[in-house]
């Protein structure tokens, strides 16, 4: 099963991509992009009332939701967001304490995983240069579709040094970027609880469709 674990719709202030347009694109590109679903990870927010079930039924794709928050160790994807997590952490705070967030999210039923760790300023690698490693990290986004040359490569050493699991996501802000990088799971993921369990348990790998898309073009 293949999911794009890092996407932004027009609910994020820096994206103009409607969710339905992402789904239309994935259906149109199905042979090249065998994506089974996406996880919307809007910036610094969580809308408990968003409901995409009608779109899931219409397009036959899974839509799960998380959030991308900002911490003192860079940006972090949070999956399994619930009331307890949003009561404890203000997602609009761009200086959330990562050392507190990561174990707390886990204790409250979710998982918090650093994204684009190879980026300057907002990536984990840069913060590990002058701060101690964080406790409780299970996985990092090893493959990010928005990273520049060298940024994804930088993550390989981080993973080797700390034994983190590796997943991928497009970090799409534009319709045509959806699914370019994703994560292949050995197990079926149908719910956000499944996703949290799968990320905690292992049995997944990042997968890159960019070369395949370039070949088609």
């Amino acid at each position: 099963m293949i999911l794009d674990l890092h996407t932004h719709s027009d609910a994020s202030e820096d994206s103009r991509a409607p969710v339905e347009s992402y789904l239309k694109w994935l259906v149109r590109k199905r042979p090249l992009l065998p994506i089974d679903g996406i996880v919307l990870t809007e910036h610094r927010q969580w809308n408990p009332h968003a409901d995409y079930r009608a779109l899931e039924d219409k397009y036959g794709l899974l839509i799960l939701r998380g959030a991308e928050v900002e911490t003192d160790y860079g940006h972090v994807l949070v999956y399994g967001v619930n009331d307890a997590i949003t009561r404890r952490f203000d997602f609009t705070n761009v200086r959330l304490p990562a050392a507190e967030l990561i174990p707390a999210v886990s204790a409250l039923g979710g998982i918090a995983a650093p994204c684009h760790p190879g980026r300057p300023t907002i990536g984990l690698c840069a913060h590990y240069e002058d701060k101690p490693p964080l406790e409780g990290i299970v996985a990092v986004e090893a493959l990010n579709g928005g990273s520049r040359r060298g940024e994804n490569e930088r993550v390989q050493q981080l993973i080797a040094d700390h034994g983190y699991g590796a997943f991928g996501g497009s970090d799409s802000h534009l319709v045509s970027f959806i699914g370019i990088c994703a994560t292949e799971f050995e197990c079926a993921v149908r719910t956000i609880e499944d996703l949290v369990s799968a990320l905690q348990g292992g049995g997944y790998r990042p997968i890159d469709f960019r070369e395949r898309l370039r070949s088609e073009a």
């Binding site: 202030e13 910036h43 610094r44 900002e70 609009t92 761009v94 300057p120 907002i122």
Partner: protein, 134 residues
Amino acid sequence: MAITIDRSVVGSEFDRTTHPPVAQTEVDAYAAASGESCPADGVAPPTFVVSLRSHRFMPKSLARLGRAGLDAGKDIELGAPIRVGDVLTTVSTVHDIYEKTGRSGPMGFLVLRTVVTNQRDEGVAVIDQRMMFR
């Protein structure tokens, strides 16, 4: 310089301007400048709304957001067409102010919303102007 985010200003109106009637010469000049080769007679190109100059572009009493700022883009929701002779009113408010971090460090964003109506109280446009500061 640290970025100061004061969300108490969100929602505050800082300008209300009623503009002189739209003149054909203004429409022609805008069309020529924007490359509109064949404007409909008496109707302005939709993005003509961004050429309106209100009394005040920024709130007067805004805490210093950073050392420098730049235009970070506009979203425009269009309504009724603008016709020559229309008297347009613009009302500007602070719509949002927030901070985020990017590759180059922390950034402050100010979103100024301008609602444009005509003399018939029809909605002509809602313009969200985003400014980035650091």
